[in-house]
Symmetry: C2
Subunit: 161 residues, 2 copies
DNA sequence: CATGATTAGTTTGATATCAAACTATAAATT
DNA sequence: AATTTATAGTTTGATATCAAACTAATCATG
């Protein structure tokens, strides 16, 4: 099998992806400062704002966060009065999630900070490179998620053999 | 202050950076499979292999992992016989860390798997794009770490005022 | 040399995350 | 209609990580 000589980790995409992401995340955490202003909440609140009434499963897929993570996060946001969850009439296992007006105000605060961070990243990378970068990052996501699907199918085939 | 209208999260570098990194990490975890084969150990063991006798502080900086994280990780690796730590003669607060021969064997197993993952990422991104991508990721790291340094300096200035 | 400041690594506590197992509900099958 | 299978969200437990506080050792200063 692969006896190719590994390149130094510093020459791999995986390593730099990790470091860049951690740097970005650390920077946004610093910028958000206040413990009530959580970066993780920004993505979630912003997705809810643009898709009022979505279910937790839909939110899970859109935010790439597991439903088990969202349970506690949404409980917290609900407790703080930023979101409300109502059982769906169509499917009594589901919630329909909406932002409250306090939630909209809170999101606006997060947005003010996120905009600065996003603009900084855009500037660092250069406007002429941004869409190339995003396109490569998307390719990584898409290809690795296809890989997941193929592996699951192979696993299922093995288990029925 | 910034009242610019925020773009959707799906159009930001930060979001895609997170998703791509999480996809890469999930893929490598799946590929490593065995609980003894931890992706995090690969980076650490590989840095030690190439820098025998380095200190934990040097390892912390090279791997971008906090020393508090390394304490438990190195204890585990030491318990398994993969590394050994010896107090430095030069500075009795420091360890000099080396791979054992069992550690080298273990690293070789990790390398076999990492090589496949790295090759897959290279292929997904395309050989013609790899160095551009790494260069952009490095730019993000460097710029955000300068930002940290500047913020710390400003904070120190504020505190002495 | 004594004292205060800094540093290497450790301990402790908090946080966010996911997988597995679970309960209630819905869909598919018999 | 009854039974089996699948699914939405929840609970539980494990994991990796960092920041703050800490101890012992080292460095800088007077």
């Amino acid at each position: 099998m692969p006896s190719a000589r590994p390149v130094a980790v510093e020459q791999t995409i995986a390593y730099h992806l990790r470091l860049a992401q951690e740097a970005s995340f650390a920077a946004i955490r610093r910028r958000f400062g206040d413990p009530d202003l959580k970066p993780g909440h920004y993505t979630i609140l912003s997705i809810i704002a643009r898709n009022p009434g979505l279910t937790q499963g839909e939110l899970s897929r859109a935010s790439a966060r597991d439903t088990s993570t969202l349970t506690s996060t949404l409980s917290e946001l609900s407790r703080k009065g930023y979101v409300q969850r109502q059982r769906s009439d169509v499917d009594r296992r589901s919630y329909r999630i909406e932002l409250t007006s306090a939630g909209k105000t809170h999101l606006a605060r997060l947005e003010d900070l996120a905009v600065v961070h996003d603009a900084l990243l855009d500037q660092i990378v250069g406007p002429e490179n941004k869409s190339d970068l995003i396109s490569m990052l998307k390719r990584i996501q898409d290809a690795l998620s296809v890989e997941t699907t193929l592996q699951a199918a192979q696993q299922a085939a093995v288990e029925t053999a």
